[in-house]
Amino acid sequence: MIYVENLKKEFKKAIKEPGLKGSLKSFIKPKNEIITAVDDISFHVSKGEILGFIGPNGAGKSTVIKMLTGILTPTSGRCEINGKIPYKNRKSYVKEIGVVFGQRTQLWWDLALRETYTVLKEIYEVDDESYKKRMAFLNEVLELDSFITSPVRTLSLGQRMRADIAASLLHSPKVLFLDEPTIGLDVVVKDNIRKAVKAINAEENTTVILTTHDLQDVENLCDRIVMIDKGNKVFDGEISMLKTKYGQSREMKFVPEDLDAFNNLDYLGEFNLKDSDIEVENDGHTVSVRFNSDAVSVEKILNYTLSKTHVKDINVKDADIEEIIKGIYRSEVKLDA
């Protein structure tokens, strides 16, 4: 369905020195540097899959999406979707895909929403009957009725995002690209949008590629994630795999009766641990112990702590996907690619 091989994108960027003198200098003798936004990315997606495409800001997510949707031409490497190369057969290719950029609308600012869909119907050559059916379906999952007669510029962000998603689905695309579709939305609208994406995926077996910073989106929707950082792929697999492979970090919280007794504890010496395996934080009320469960078990830490002190409350936190990803972004967790 989607094949991406050694995709690379470089941008030329002019080096500008500060100040008026610098501006003049770069005007007369421009100096360029090459910035590699996407270095070498390969992955594939099968039909009907929902793929989460994640990474920190500036990792190159949007650049990859823009190459996959035919907006940008790759510097090297190839991508093939539905047997087509996006930037080569652009017009026939984009007929089969839907694209939503959460950051900016693709709709016509002054057109009433209903008219927007009429324009899209013409552009994508959707026949009257399919159009009617399609609008009814989209209306049902995205609840467009209440604002369909309003001009796009008057819509709230949540309404606009729903309108944009509906617009991208009008022509029943085989692949749907969603670039941060839940950005800036409240929890209810986010939930609506997730449900809609799920419904569309289930109904028509639409392949979805989704970029997001909201890990709830990922956990709710995605079968698989591809994580990239600095233009390179750092993880590719199921979310559960991410947890078992990199989720060794555990956190235990104690509310002690006597803080001083805690200060006498020596986890490092007792279990022969390295500095990086454990971290103790004391805020004067609660004591948090974060440790690597590969180096020492939960049971051992618990037994040792309880044998030396008295506590009022204990809380054990499981490996949290957010924590793992935070760790990877901060490159604390080492990945074997």
Binding site: F101, T118, D179
Partner: protein
Amino acid sequence: MKVLHRIRRVFKLHRIFIKQDLKKLMEYKIDFLTGALALFITQGINIFFLTIIFSYIPDLEGWTFDQILFIYGFALLPKAIDHLFTDNLWSIGYFTVSKGDFDKYLTRPVSTLFAVTVEKFQIDALGELVVGILLLATSLPKVNFNLSFINVLLFIISVLFATFIYTGIKLITASVAFWTKRSGNVIHMFYMVNDFAKYPTTIYNRTVRAIITYIVPFAFTAFFPASYFIVGGNPWYNIGGTVVMSALLMTVGIIIWNKGVTAYESAGS
């Protein structure tokens, strides 16, 4: 069949957007009236000064006042028509490319050029169109225009192709933005040369004449075709030249535009 279908689609899309722009016009009446009035007044003042000049001199390099008005009026027709339909090219040069908003045109299964131009119908240009028609109508009885079938046909052809000279020049200069991010001022610089073309080119020195004939060939949007109708000349040069220049500029424009689209770098989001 397929071609017919395509043409129908083009008209239908134009209709939707024109309807929408007319609706907007009802919403922002003052805005429209000021815009159209401004263009109307600009042309009015130009003509007023022409009247003053001609009240002191009987003719200009052998051109009578009415002949000049005819050429001037002719010049406004292709300018206004181009203005009506392709005004959105300006925004390509000023901000669409630099802000990365060009993305949206690339995700649609129609040609990017069509997607860009269809989106805006610049109603203000009707001010220019009205002035142009008025000037032609008033000067027509006083110039030696032979209203034969062939002349009317040639007139329509030359206005049509002259329009594409405007479009072509805007297209080439707007495309520069794909490499430089902004080219609004480049479009402006070349577009403004059309001011020279409203008058007989014989009144200018050789350099100006060469520029507006061969480099930025606005002379073919007005003086050459218009003078053919009132004083005669070689139709192959006067009107054929318009057709050739127009085809040349549009071809070059479309090639550069398409090259530009592949060089387009979008913007970070």
